[in-house]
């Protein structure tokens, strides 16, 4: 597919790599402001307790201490806002207790900030933080979302319940779904846990607040995926700072995966404190601290039922989920188990009737919010696991049962409120079987058996909804923000282009791909295009990067803005060549008049725009710069099929991931190399969820896996090479690039693939009693499953 080395479809090498490879990146912690003070947060060591008092006097008297802050200092500030309101089955709004910057009255999870000590140096702040002793009366903790529903111990006394909402979707389908189960030939039931995860971007969070008394301007440098969202939420809802007096900068960001979408207490604190002490205030999170302060992901307890007819055709799906919100509602938390999960329960299949019930509860744990995939991995996992189980129960091949039920005609309206625009699920299934060499499995299985190892083959199909939008729809669903994206395309006099995008790159390579698109549209060298992002002072108001939305929504905004630029440039060119703009063609950086040999170069036109000596000033303003805001008509629906092989050592329970194959349909692809990389990373994280990672709480609410000593991160020697393919392409029908988004697919589709493979290995290996194991499939769990007869 590559046309050349730099346009759409080329695996252009990333320009951002040069600075990252030479130590020249500019991450937030690399920034130090003159005169900056350091803050250390005193965090709760107990999961739940009444905060009877805090005495900062001793700490305040210690060397270097500037001030100790507690909740009292934030009486005039708002709580951290939630950006999505869910309406429950009875039409009532969700419960939304206040989320204070520093704990008020109660502590509700281990890691909750209670006080903040600001000192000249970091070590002084740490010393002093040890001298702040809060008086806490411990209360019983609840950590499991299902247990919380009993209300035995209330996380928020004032709301009188731990239930945030009880959501039914689609409520009108409920009776029909129940009837379909009554009538079904076969019902498969599966109870499972979608394990809680800690996102663990390798760069810990950092915030630096700065304030100028001279101008009244605040600046916040922060590790964010969406600086404009932080500016809006923090300015308008927390601190009451008008946006023109607040600049938020997210420079190079070392990975996000969702965890850097949300507006965190530390950001508001540093912004507030910088003004209060009239010095910049810096906070650098330590890894141990990020385990108990970054929003976690997943944590669903689910019962799913699948009704089938005798041929294995799906008749209905019914699910019952408890979703953990944690102690407070993080920015987008309520949307994850609802709109990002329920709407995906149809998967790639023609199931006519679906009912999803989700009870979201508060617990004494770190807030839970979107983590790579957000809701869609939970949906895919349940569905693809229950399908595998049903296939086994009915004696139908797991690939065949999927094929029998695939949606094949598009557009397809699901019973869960979304409409798939295009897709070809058989094509990606064919492809994955080819690249996984499914035909050679039996031989490999025999070879493994000779070594005493049980080999299994796992298969999976998935669909996801990306490019989350449109704003008017998500608004009806409870979003309190728009979900459009913006871009300004500025052409300089000498022809260079600067794209200022509201998207944010924290590993995705926008500086390269966005430039590829512009280079292609204009026909200039990609080196002539610069992409600017991450600073509210020099980018248009945009919503940032998450939900695989950058190219689909941000890229579309850029294409629109560039289209406007080109239209105007054609008018200028027409003026210069004394013809009509309709006759002008732009190709290879040259404007020519159709049917003639007349042409002017891109650079001549851009120069004319800024040196408008020969210019239609009465018709047009000089200059060449346009902005566009793009609000898509629909989600995009990437889909595909994944397969993998595992070996299980029955003596130790250890699972080895031997091979992994992914066939994705992302529509058109701008940079195949980068798309491959996105899929690889997602598979790595998905393998982590399936086999290794768990944020585990004990009964008292302590996070047992609060460091890399106990939280298992996938390492290079845990993982194989992956075979990835995205040659099956059904371009999105409703955005200008025909793209769908690729950032989350790997993380969404790999966990069920791997669990299916392990169950397959055990079934084939004589352990037929094992029909399910909850993730992560650690050696201990697999060994226990084998031996629990």
């Amino acid at each position: 597919m590559p046309k050349d080395e730099q346009g759409i479809g080329a695996s252009t090498k990333r320009r951002e790599d040069i600075r990252f490879l030479t130590g020249d990146g500019n991450y937030t912690d690399d920034i130090n402001l003159r005169g900056q003070a350091h803050v250390v947060f005193l965090r709760s060591q107990v999961a739940h307790g009444r905060l009877r008092g805090i005495d900062p006097a001793a700490a305040e008297a210690m060397p270097g201490v500037i001030r100790v802050f507690t909740a009292k200092d934030f009486e005039s500030a708002g709580g951290l806002p939630c950006g999505w309101q869910v309406t429950d089955r009875h039409g009532q709004p969700m419960k939304e207790p206040k989320h204070p910057i520093l704990a008020e009255g109660k502590v509700r999870h281990v890691g909750e900030p209670i006080a903040a000590v600001v000192a000249d140096t970091l070590e002084q702040a740490r010393d002093a933080a040890e001298a702040v002793i809060p008086d806490i009366e411990e209360l019983p903790a609840v950590t499991n979302p299902k247990d919380a529903a009993s209300d035995a111990s209330l996380v928020h006394d004032e709301i009188g319940t731990n239930l945030c909402y009880d959501w039914g979707f689609v409520e009108d389908n409920k009776a029909k779904v129940d009837a379909a189960f009554e009538a079904a030939d076969h019902v498969t039931t599966l109870e499972l846990v979608n394990n809680r995860l800690v996102p663990n971007a390798m760069e810990p969070r950092v915030s630096i607040g700065d304030y100028s008394r001279g101008t009244g301007e605040h600046t916040l440098y922060t590790t964010s995926q969406n600086p404009h969202v932080i500016r809006l939420l923090m300015g308008a809802f927390v601190l009451g700072i008008p946006e023109h007096k607040l600049r938020v900068v997210a420079p190079d960001v070392g990975g996000g995966f969702g965890s850097k979408i949300f507006h965190y207490a530390e950001e508001a604190f540093c912004t507030f404190a910088a003004k209060a002490i009239n010095r910049p205030v810096k906070w650098t999170c330590q890894r141990g601290e990020s385990f108990v302060s970054d929003a976690h992901g997943r944590d669903h307890v689910t019962k799913i039922e699948l009704a089938l007819d005798k041929d294995g055709l799906f008749q209905a799906i019914r699910t019952d989920t408890y979703a953990n919100m944690g102690a407070y509602l993080s920015t987008f938390a309520p949307s994850v188990p609802t709109w990002l999960h329920g709407t995906l329960m149809a998967g790639n299949y023609r199931t006519p009737l679906i009912y999803v019930n989700v009870k979201a509860t508060f617990t004494n744990t770190v807030p839970v919010d979107a983590y790579r995939g957000a809701g869609r991995p939970e949906a895919t996992y349940q569905l693809e696991r229950v399908i595998d189980k049903a296939a086994r129960e009915m004696g139908i091949d797991p690939i065949e049962i999927r094929r029998r039920n695939f949606v094949t005609e598009f557009p397809y309206a699901t019973p869960v409120a979304v409409e798939y625009d295009t897709g070809d699920y058989h094509a990606t299934m064919d492809k994955v079987l080819e690249i996984a060499d499914a035909a050679g499995f039996e031989k490999r299985r025999e070879a493994s058996a000779k070594k005493g190892l049980l080999r299994g083959f796992g298969i999976n199909a998935y669909i996801e909804a990306c490019g989350i939008a449109p704003s008017n729809l998500v608004g009806q669903l409870g979003a309190r923000a728009g979900l459009y994206e913006s871009a300004t395309v500025r052409v300089n006099a000498t022809g260079g282009v600067v794209v200022m995008t509201g998207s944010h790159s924290h590993g995705q390579g926008h500086e390269t791909t966005f430039a590829q698109v512009i280079a292609d549209m204009i026909g200039i060298d990609a080196d002539q295009v610069d992409v600017v992002h991450g600073d509210t002072a020099n980018t248009p108001m945009g919503m940032g990067t998450y939900g695989s939305r950058s190219i689909a929504v941000g890229g579309s905004a850029m294409v629109r803005a560039a289209g406007k630029v080109i239209d105007k440039a054609k008018k200028i060119a027409a003026h210069l060549m004394e013809c009509s703009p309709e006759d002008i063609e732009l190709k290879d950086g040259k404007f020519s008049v159709a049917g003639t040999d007349k042409s002017v170069a891109w650079g001549d036109v851009t120069l004319a725009a800024y040196v408008p000596h020969n210019y239609p000033l009465e018709e047009m303003e000089p200059g060449l710069e346009e902005t566009a805001f793009y609000d898509p008509a629909n989600f995009t629906y990437p889909a595909g099929a994944y397969a993998c092989e595992v070996e299980v050592d029955p003596e130790t329970g250890k699972v080895t991931l031997c091979s992994f194959a992914a066939a994705d349909d992302f529509g058109n692809v701008i940079n195949p190399m980068i798309v491959d990389g996105q899929v690889h990373g997602g598979i790595g994280q998905g393998a982590g969820q399936a086999l290794m990672e768990a944020a585990a709480y004990d009964a008292t609410g302590q996070l047992v896996t609060g460091s890399y000593m106990d939280y298992t991160m996938p390492r290079a020697d845990d993982l194989p090479y992956y075979a990835v393919d995205h040659s099956c392409q059904t371009p999105c029908t409703h955005n200008p690039l025909g793209v769908k988004g690729c950032g989350e697919a790997g993380a969404i589709a790999s966990p069920p693939t791997i669990v299916n493979a392990v169950v397959d290995a055990l079934q084939r290996g004589g352990h037929g009693h094992v029909t399910h194991i909850d993730m992560p499939l650690t050696p201990l769990r697999v060994w226990q499953a084998i031996h629990q007869r």
């Binding site: 130790t652 768990a694 890399y708 106990d710 050696p779 201990l780």
Partner: protein
């Protein structure tokens, strides 16, 4: 980290002098101590770095064929330097942590620390090594006193470790998935006068010898000889990564694998 001074003596005598200071503590590779200090779990007044003391570095042999390893010798150096003469020990050293950890961490630090899931204690006990300090010589059988405790007195410095070399030996390590320390590790060594089997990672009492297996292997050094044996789950560590039953089971599996590898 709390504040402290860092002393860098170049002789054992100077190191011992520096350690006289109240709350002074030796610093070897720092691969355990530095994270501990970062977590503010230790507050020494002075750290006495052992890296500059050449007498405590390196590997040599005595006329009885025993290997002497200086306490401040890194895991990487042990892996390299005993590869020919004591491959089982070299392989164990090569399985500790990652390359950067092995470039700093030392055998003396590991033994003094006696982490219940550390690897070296299994080698020392499994080889019947002798821990040589500035004050005395301590047989490995008497050295370890349960999790994170040894018979070392305050201010006593491990100077070197003396290993008799077995005919064959091997270490089988089942890694705790997150930390990659030993969830259960078994070191097996066959000498002319018998077999030693030392187990780390599994017991609440730290590293221990599995005498039943030693006897069985003394009669017949084969994996089959220990196939029917098991250790009781009682007293084994139970945590997120392994129940006591699981660890007890792994002791058997890893012993068989170590024997097969030594084979």
């Amino acid at each position: 980290m709390y504040a402290f001074d860092l002393a860098r003596p170049t002789s054992v005598a100077d190191a011992l002098k520096a350690l006289q200071e109240e709350d002074a503590q030796p610093l070897a590779g720092g691969q355990t101590l530095v994270p501990t200090l970062k977590a503010r779990l230790a507050a020494p007044s002075t750290l006495v770095s052992l890296r500059g003391i050449s007498e405590m570095q390196g590997v040599c042999h005595d006329d009885q064929g025993r290997i002497h390893i200086g306490a401040a010798t890194t895991h990487a150096a042990v892996e390299r330097e005993v590869a020919k003469d004591y491959p089982g020990l070299a392989a164990l050293a090569g399985q500790i942590g990652d390359p950067a950890v092995r470039n700093r961490g030392t055998i003396g630090g590991s033994l003094a620390n006696n982490d219940p899931s550390a690897c070296y204690p299994a080698a020392a006990l499994g080889s019947g090594a002798t821990i040589v300090t500035n004050a005395r010589e301590i047989p490995a059988d008497d050295f370890f006193e349960g999790m994170f405790t040894t018979v070392l007195e305050e201010d006593e410095l491990i100077f070197s470790v003396r290993f008799p070399v077995p005919k064959v030996s091997a270490y089988a390590k089942f890694a705790q998935p997150a930390s990659r320390f030993a969830l259960t590790g078994v070191f097996v060594a066959q000498f002319d006068d018998g077999v030693r089997v030392a187990v780390t990672g599994a017991s609440e009492d730290g590293v221990f010898r599995w005498s039943e297996a030693e006897d069985a292997l003394g009669r017949d050094f084969s994996a089959d000889a220990v196939a029917g044996l098991s250790v009781p789950a009682e007293g084994m560590i139970g945590d997120l990564h392994g129940t006591p039953e699981y660890r007890a089971h792994l002791v058997g599996v890893m012993t068989r694998r170590a024997v097969a590898a030594a084979g």
